[in-house]
Symmetry: C2
Subunit: 395 residues, 2 copies
């Protein structure tokens, strides 16, 4: 459904954290380039050590320089990262030596294993290896790995352009009305804040169209505007079956609507569609999230996040789940698959936030992850459950 975007950007490796590779990175060198020392110490010939514990120090090889062939019964003073000179096959740690006669010779206090303290050529990366593959989301370590084989620029997919709006005449922006002046039935728009932040964490370029009035014409107009320059239109609210919910008829006016009949809780009201656009864009994807803050928060993580990652060309979009032990009871099974807000306890296991109502955003702040509970399943203390940390769902 979500085909990767075709456009790519070429950017500095320094700026590529979180971006998605649009090319395979193939190493044109071995890392390390040569056998080198992993310690400060002395490079020696192991054959000499059977009979001698004092060696002449005939050369000095700092990191970044290169020695010459090591003579028999000689040692090369060597530093971490410096290439092993020809003839040497072992490094003796500085801590296992005693310098003699103003460092002209050295006594070996321990006989090392042959081959010790040497990092081998190509041990990290062998020439010709695909070091990072197209479709991989770049982490800080991946940037370091790309740099270590000489890539100062990377080809990545361009950011997903998202238009965001909320519907609901009850919504008020914080700052516009003071808490003491809030009318009955009015609530502050909170979804707009976390949805924007979560989209930005996914690297999206977000156009925030604000709050759209609960009228069909206004909703159609907002969708039409949003479809022009965006890959994805994301809305919150207005997707229930009520007469005040104009999102679905508005999408049907401009394109096609497909409901994702997802039996999940929170998050039942949820819509997907496509909106035709007169611009160069063939169409914009549409995702309508529920208006309840927790439903909106959870469905974003479970459904919008993988959708955006697919648009970016990411091959691995599933969050890392793990097995954890419940330290709580969930005695009442639901026919839907439930996502419970939980927190890891210092002593191990998971605690449940008392109020699992979908209006209660405190659960998403108090918690550090979700338990993915299958339909019809109760939970007793000590049961193993499927746990997905928020940290795996927010980038």
């Amino acid at each position: 459904m979500a085909l990767p975007l075709a456009d790519t950007d070429t950017i500095s490796t320094f700026d590529a954290d979180g971006r998605v590779l649009a090319e395979d990175l193939i190493s044109s060198l071995d890392v390390p380039g040569h056998d080198n020392s992993s310690m400060d110490g002395y490079a020696v010939r192991s054959a000499d050590l059977a009979t001698n514990d004092v060696l002449q120090v005939t050369q000095r090889i700092p990191a970044g320089s290169y020695g010459h062939a090591l003579e028999p019964l000689a040692a090369a003073r060597i530093f971490t990262g410096a290439p092993i000179p020809p003839g040497a096959d072992t490094v003796v740690m500085q801590e296992d030596t005693e310098a003699l006669t103003e460092r002209a010779s050295v006594r070996l206090l321990n006989v090392p294993k042959a081959g010790q303290w040497i990092r081998r050529q190509g041990e990290d990366v062998a020439r010709g290896t695909v070091v990072l593959a197209r479709g991989q989301q770049l982490s800080p370590a991946a940037l370091g790995l790309a740099a270590s084989i000489g890539f100062d620029q990377l080809q990545v997919t361009r950011p997903v352009r998202v238009a965001l709006f909320s519907t609901g005449d009850e919504l008020v922006m914080p700052g516009d009305v003071a808490p003491a002046d809030m009318l009955p039935g009015a609530i502050y728009n909170s979804n707009r804040f976390f949805l924007r932040a979560m989209l930005k964490r996914l690297g999206c370029e977000v156009t925030d169209l604000g709050i759209v009035p609960d009228r069909l014409d206004a909703t159609v107009q907002a969708l039409a505007v949003a479809s022009l320059q965006h890959d994805l239109i994301l809305t919150s609210g207005g997707v229930s079956v009520g007469e005040e919910d104009h999102i679905k008829p508005a999408v049907q006016t401009l394109g096609e609507l497909k409901l994702w009949q997802l039996a999940i809780k929170p998050g039942k009201p949820f819509a997907y569609g496509r909106i035709q656009s007169s611009s160069a864009n063939p169409f914009a994807h549409f995702i309508g999230l529920p208006g309840n803050p927790v439903s909106s928060f959870v469905t974003f993580m479970l459904l919008v996040r993988p959708f955006v990652l697919k648009l970016l060309g990411v091959t691995q979009v599933e969050p890392h789940a793990m097995t954890a032990v419940a330290q709580f009871s969930w005695p009442k099974a639901d026919k839907r698959r439930e996502f419970l807000r939980v927190r890891q306890l210092a002593g191990g296991g998971l605690a449940l936030f008392e109020n699992q109502s979908s209006g209660v955003l405190t659960s998403a702040v108090w918690g550090d992850g979700l338990v993915d509970n299958p339909p019809g399943q109760t939970i007793a203390p000590g049961d193993e459950v499927r746990y997905i940390p928020f940290s795996a769902l927010l980038s």
Copy 2:
């Protein structure tokens, strides 16, 4: 050792993802502000339902508006989020009703439980509650929660200013020399890339001073410049005991050096100090990381991250660790506490990256976390181990 910075910024709640609260946020309202419907349907008096299954529809309450007192034997058409009118005590879901005579009356197909489908005033947040506490790092959900009680601006600690440089004459910047032209012993600087990315993920303002030559005078000069406008000077390389390692004497020239004698692997060479500054800053913290990429990467996550979070005033700096099952052998115990690069398997449990050498950055890309293995401990398949996912260590 790391006292929180005193300065704060007041910023839009929209821009506060990842920042750290410098104030307690106290709610001056109840959320929800009134009892309201959690469904589209009809608000009714539960006492009526014992004898009647058809009620007159006498009012219509969309979200954002407010009804009037509900008469006996009447129902109010109500939408999700709208306030429950006085007199009503229960909501019947639309799906459980049948509209009659052009919606002038409604038949109830199921008798609901009294009190059903109502979100209670203050259920999410009670007036006067500390909703978010000073020292909390703000997540997307926390921004939503702050907005839900009317905060459009937040007081947060200012970013940590970090000066970053690498030492090592063997280091070459990618882009400066093509892979085919690399001299023996030369390696690309990779640490600079992941250290910058990790500092940015922590919200730091980074001044990148590049690669400093392996000379004492150059190192002293770089530290002196860095100490002027920064809270923290972070270096990689040059902290071993070798003669080519000038970081420690340079720090001692300008301030005081304290070694953190940490028996961890990777990451043994590690230094902490303070450098006096002639500016308004009383001093700059100094942290010297090892030059090996994996050592640098791991010690950043284990030691620099919590240090920066403490400077930001974060109260909870420990990463979330969890218990997981090893699907590998680690037959050789080390006297140091080891941090092994591992990856979660689809079927559960952890796999080990074959090459745990500290020069091998591929382990940090292949892996998705660390096993924290105590000194002297071997691991057999099936053993429970302490696992820390990278996702918990990178923000």
